[in-house]
């Protein structure tokens, strides 16, 4: 059992405010991912939770108790560092058992606990080795093992996969998701990689410039981004943004004029709208080739990945990405027409805030536990 609350956390470094009043609630056994571009304050926030950095103001609460003044070790947390931060002069076993040794746990019990954690991570054959004799992935597992041994109430991960190669990263991602289920612990994970955030999180916290832009489940952020930053940050390839003009706003949505002059209605609530120039956001996967479509452009670059083909299309002065079928026969220089799914399009006002959708996407409420449900039911 461990919940975490942040109340109006502010952090100042020599007069510069790097965290500007963050409020957040982390529920028990939740996998929360802090994501954002570098310098957004996500690591600083994690280090404040860990106790390695003090908050300038605000309250950090674990299970309802304020812990701002409690030392890192007494908070009952464990942290996995980006650099792994293994103790180079100790064996894997000593690395993992170091916290227990400091806590005065007898040698036999220490051994047993280290072996239990090693079994979870398949580290038993490596226990006698020094970190220098391990591969990157193995070091990472030892760092996680060191955290597990402490049996913490909350696990903290600071970009733990960014030093691994791509294939290993995917493997460790799956392993971490498995660990989260197996250990049933609360986990807070920092990354700049939105794919890691989308695949592992129950709840994503998008940060920019020390401010929380949006908090929600991966599908919530994907289908209902609160503003243009979140819309552009979540999803790969990035969402396309086109400048459009408002024609009319009614109960069916907002009618806008596209760059080519065609008009279409996006089903969002425009009743409070005052601006005339808006931004239309369409994800590459929601654009499709359509002979009579309302958008047109000339293909500048084609990237064929086999299953999917990315078309980079010049529409007026914007370069738009289209995720087309792998078998698409278009060539560079072709001028094509495109259509898009109105229900999946987004409109942003002059302040870059998204206009609320008239209907919620059916998957927006889905979280990771829901993915599991069918397989459990199938097993019974």
């Amino acid at each position: 059992m461990a919940t975490l609350q942040l109340h109006n956390i502010v952090k100042r470094f020599e007069g510069t405010e790097v965290i500007k009043g963050v409020d957040l609630e982390v529920n028990d056994r939740e996998f929360v991912v802090f994501v954002g571009p570098s310098g957004c304050g996500k690591s600083t926030l994690l280090r404040m939770i860990a106790g390695l950095e003090s908050a300038t103001s605000g309250d950090i609460m674990i299970d309802g108790k304020r812990i701002n003044e409690v030392g890192p070790a007494e908070r009952g947390l464990a942290m996995v560092f980006q650099s792994y931060a293994l103790y180079p002069h100790m064996t894997v076993e000593d690395n993992m058992g170091f916290s227990l040794k400091l806590a005065g746990v007898p040698k036999e019990e220490r051994r047993r606990k280290v072996r239990e954690a090693a079994a979870i991570l398949q580290l038993e054959p490596l226990l006698e080795r020094k970190p220098k004799a391990l591969s990157g992935g193995q070091r990472q597992r030892v760092a996680i093992g060191r955290a597990i041994v402490r049996n913490p109430s909350i696990f903290l991960f600071d970009e733990p996969l960014s030093n691994l190669d791509a294939a290993l990263r995917v493997q460790m991602r799956i392993e971490l998701a498995r660990l989260h289920e197996e250990l049933d612990a609360t986990m807070i994970y920092v990354t700049h990689d939105q794919i890691e955030a989308m695949t592992m999180a129950d709840k994503i916290v998008v940060l920019q410039g020390g401010v929380v832009e949006q908090v929600g489940s991966p599908m919530e952020l994907y289908h209902h981004p609160r503003n243009r930053f979140v819309a552009g940050f979540i999803g790969s390839p990035k969402m396309n943004f086109l400048m459009v003009e408002r024609v009319d706003a009614g109960p069916d949505g907002v009618e806008v004029r596209l760059p080519d002059g065609a008009t279409c209605t996006v089903p969002v609530d425009g009743s409070a709208l005052t601006d005339d120039s808006l931004t239309l956001g369409i994800r590459p996967e929601h654009l499709q080739l359509e002979p009579e479509g309302p958008l047109s452009g000339r293909i500048e670059v084609i990237e064929r990945l086999g299953g999917v083909t990315s078309l980079y299309v010049r529409m007026q002065d914007t370069l738009v990405t289209v995720s087309a079928d792998g078998g698409v026969e278009s060539r560079v220089g072709d001028t094509l027409r495109f259509g898009f799914d109105r229900a999946c399009a987004h409109l942003f006002d002059a302040e870059d805030l998204a206009l609320p959708s008239l209907s919620r996407h059916p998957l927006a409420g889905l979280n990771r536990q829901d993915h599991r449900a069918p397989s459990v039911a199938g097993g019974q």
């Binding site: 860990a50 650099s83 103790y87 180079p88 400091l102």
Partner: protein, 304 residues
């Protein structure tokens, strides 16, 4: 053809520069270009030449110590009958072992004390710096620029009032203060090379500051600490100004011992050489034994 040769030579030379220490690797990779081989011979000769010039006074001193006084002042010659008569005469005049013991106690005592003070200081400066840390370090180093004679009188008076004149304790205090700036500075650079994450991981694991230092910092920077300690021992051993001014007999180290021969027997070169040889022998042997450690420590971080 010429272009081809140049192209061949260039990477070979680059390679030479990068693997200076590994002579064998170099030889295997550069057999095609004779000029590199010649250069290597030349460099080797130059290296030996310089080393010999630096070592010559010591060699000559050792040789002179084994000569008779007559041979010592005669025309320089490498051919003579070795004799221990100077050593016997020197030992009869002053008890070498008493001075040597003082040197050992003072050199190692002051080094241990300096390390005990410098390790916590360097830890604080390296891992908990403030905006004044850099300035403090520079100020500490600047105290080394002051000629010691400038503070001789006040220190002498302080020592007299506190009863520290001619005591080992007094010398240990002075040597500690003398070496502290260098010791702190060196430890600071070694500590700075240690990734902060490791200490933070230790803190997350529940280590107190003291445990962090004992279990993580010291073992991980041991090569650096060792070479700093060795340097401090050598500097203390060789120090003459304070030992001559603050000791007379009971706490006098080997530097005072040699000095005591220089004036009354300044003309007796063989005896002076014998005394000097005995004075530097321990630290020379010590330096030789720890040479590897010294070099490893002084290049620590650079080759990581």
């Amino acid at each position: 053809m010429t272009t081809y040769k140049t192209k061949q030579a260039l990477p070979a030379e680059g390679h030479l520069a990068s693997t200076n220490a590994a002579g064998e690797t170099r030889a295997r990779h550069t057999p095609l270009v004779p000029s590199v081989g010649a250069r290597r011979v030349w460099l080797t000769l130059l290296g030996w030449g310089i080393a010999l010039i630096i070592f010559f006074p010591i060699l000559w001193m050792v040789l002179t110590g084994f000569k008779s006084e007559a041979e010592a002042i005669a025309d320089p010659s490498l051919i003579f009958t070795p004799t221990l008569e100077s050593y016997v005469a020197v030992q009869a005049r002053a008890d070498y072992f008493k001075f040597a013991l003082n040197s050992v106690v003072v050199a190692f005592g002051s080094t241990l004390l300096a390390l005990a003070i410098a390790i916590p200081s360097a830890y604080a400066m390296a891992f908990l710096p403030t905006k004044r840390t850099k300035g403090t370090l520079l100020w500490m180093l600047s105290t080394k620029m002051l000629p010691p004679v400038g503070v001789l009188v006040p220190i002498y008076l302080l020592f007299r009032d506190f009863g520290l004149l001619d005591t080992r304790t007094g010398l240990i205090i002075v040597y500690t203060l003398m070496n502290l700036p260098i010791v702190v500075w060196m430890l600071y650079t070694f500590f700075k090379d240690l990734p902060r994450d490791i200490l933070e991981a230790g803190r997350m694991d529940g280590a107190s500051t003291f445990q962090e230092v004992i279990y993580l910092l010291l073992p991980l920077t041991l090569p650096g600490i060792a070479s700093t300690g060795l340097l401090s021992v050598i500097l203390s051993w060789n120090e003459a100004f304070w030992s001559l001014n603050l000791t007379s007999s009971s706490a006098a180290p080997l530097t005072a011992y040699i000095a005591s021969f220089s004036s009354p027997e300044g003309l007796f070169w063989a005896k002076l050489s014998a005394a000097s040889t005995m004075a530097i022998a321990p630290i020379l042997v010590f330096g030789w034994l720890t040479q590897k450690q010294m070099v490893r420590g002084l290049t620590f971080g650079a080759v990581k």
